[in-house]
Each structure stands twice: as structure tokens, then as C-alpha cells.
């Protein structure tokens, strides 16, 4: 045998593959699917008002020279209830928030706003989740920072907690 070390090569390769599998078991998995639309313009959409007494929402309502938050929520979504006070805090800090209600019914949205407050400037109803798909959004709640020119700048997946409020305000400020 001229090169005895070669005998060990298959074992080494197998060990590498096994190591990779073991690593996959140990490392916590990031199950969030991030939108690939960050850095791109908002897709075109025009949504009807989510309930009586709120304004409808289309993509041209955003990107009119003022950065805003776009909050994707639903009345049936429990974390959305948890983030409601933090959306109010953002509103109190002068942030304009547009909402999209996902797969919702007008009466349910109305009850939700009654109970948890209405921090939204406009709320569109995406009853068939078509706009959610266009945004590359993977669930509720999600919050996007939309730049003054209508570019999607940042995606926050999951509910907004108290610690996220200053970060979102900072992101909005840094765009102007």
C-alpha cells in the first residue's frame, strides 16, 4: 500500500457528514421565513377598509414622503393582542401606523379595535391573504418599516414587545 492514509479518507468523509448532522441537532433552528422583498418597492395593492369607519389602504397611501410602519395583524391572532399597547406607544411617539387585517371579518376587526384600541391611520382588509403573499410575509403579526419613497426597509417578525419600540423608532428616524 503506497498511501495508507487514503484508507482513512472514507471514514473521514463519513465523520464529516455525521458531524454536520450532529451539529444540526444541537444548533437551535431559526424557523422564521424572512421576506425577500426587503430593499424593494411595496408591491401594488388596493385593499378595502377592514371595518366600518376606517380608511382603506393601498400601496400609494404609503411612500408619500413620510416613513411609516405597516403592521400586519388579525383579530384572531393572540400575539396581536399582546402587541397592541406597544403599537399605542409607537403612535404616542408620533409614528404613523398603517394596518392590514389578514383573513378577517369586519365585525371581528371592529370588536378587536374596541377592545385593544386603534393605533392605525388606515386599515386594509386582506381577506384572502393575497397581499400578505405579495409582501413575502409569513404570518401574523409582522411589522414592516416603509421608507419615505415606499421602499420596504425592514421586517419585524412576531409581536412588538416593549424592547422593540425604541428600535423601530430609530429605524424610522434613520430613513429620513
Amino acid at each position: 500500500m503506497k498511501r495508507p492514509w487514503l484508507l482513512w479518507a472514507p471514514l473521514a468523509v463519513t465523520a464529516c457528514i455525521g458531524g454536520l448532522a450532529a451539529y444540526g441537532l444541537v444548533v437551535p433552528k431559526d424557523e422564521q421565513v424572512r421576506s425577500a422583498m426587503i430593499g424593494q418597492k411595496l408591491p401594488e395593492f388596493a385593499l378595502p377598509p377592514a371595518t366600518q369607519g376606517v380608511l382603506p389602504l393601498s400601496n400609494t397611501d404609503m411612500g408619500d414622503g413620510k416613513p411609516r410602519l405597516l403592521n400586519i395583524f388579525a383579530s384572531w391572532c393572540i400575539p396581536c393582542k399582546a402587541e397592541a399597547p406597544h403599537l399605542e406607544a409607537l403612535k404616542a411617539a408620533g409614528v404613523e401606523i398603517d394596518g392590514i387585517a389578514i383573513r378577517d371579518r369586519p365585525e371581528d376587526v371592529a370588536a378587536f379595535l374596541d377592545e385593544f384600541g386603534n393605533p392605525y391611520r388606515r386599515i386594509g382588509s386582506d381577506s384572502e391573504m393575497a397581499v400578505q403573499l405579495k409582501l413575502g410575509s409569513s404570518g401574523v403579526p409582522e411589522t414592516y418599516v416603509i421608507g419615505a419613497d415606499g421602499t420596504i426597509l425592514f421586517q419585524h417578525i412576531g409581536d412588538i414587545r416593549a424592547e422593540h419600540v425604541p428600535m423601530l423608532i430609530e429605524k424610522l428616524k434613520s430613513t429620513t
Binding site: L6, A9, P10, V13, E31, V33, R34, S35, A36, M37, A74, W76, I102, R103, D104, R105, D108, S127, E128, M129, A130, Q132, L133, K134, L135, G136, S138, G139
Partner: protein, 133 residues
Amino acid sequence: MRKFVPILLMLTAPVWAQGSGPTPAMANRQLADPSKEAEAMRLMHSLRCIQCQGQSIADSDASMAATMRAEVRQQISAGQKPEAIRAWMIKRYGEWVSFEPDFKGARLLLWLTPLILLLASLWLARGLFRRRT
């Protein structure tokens, strides 16, 4: 029996926990043209559901999968090519959404590794064949 009726009714309670919103019409209705439906079905089996992540959108009952199926059927019936629809999904959710990785960049390694390993092992084993003959 009368005692069991309330218990049986209680057992059906989880139904109320299901999402109450509307489902897009095209999510669970086949296209009229069978060849187009087959085309859509093939694509739906190779797109990953964003919500229940191990399943294809054809297999999943999640509301997100329903929306994605409706989108696929609508675009197919509008004459869109399946690969263009796959690209449309990838543009929004990244490569992750497709069960069929393409032949580019690092993903090339994914396709070529079995071939490389096979060639390497044949090369390693060549001595054995020589001695036998």
C-alpha cells in the same frame, strides 16, 4: 346515552379553534382544464408551505398554503409558466420556498456531491478490482 351527548358535543369543541376567515376560492377547486390543473399540481407539490414548513402547499391544510395554491392556480390559468411562478415565489420568500433547488452557485454542490463521492470511492476502490482480476 343522554349522558354521553354533552360529552360528544364537547369533543367537537376544537372545531371552533380553527381560523374563521374565508378561504380563497381557487385554493381547493381544480382548474377546468385538466392539463393546466396537472401543471399546477406538479408545481404545488414542489413549493414549500411557509406555515407548516415540512409540507408542500399541495399537502398542507394551513391557510397560508391555501393562499399559495390559489395564487398558483390563478397564475397558471392566466397562462403563466410554472417556472415563472416558482421564481415569483422565490422573489418573495427566497430559495427556501422551493423544494427543487436550481443548478447555481453553492446549490450546485448539492447536486454534484453524490457524483463526486461516487467517483472518489470508485477511485479509492480501484485497487480492489485490479487484484481480483
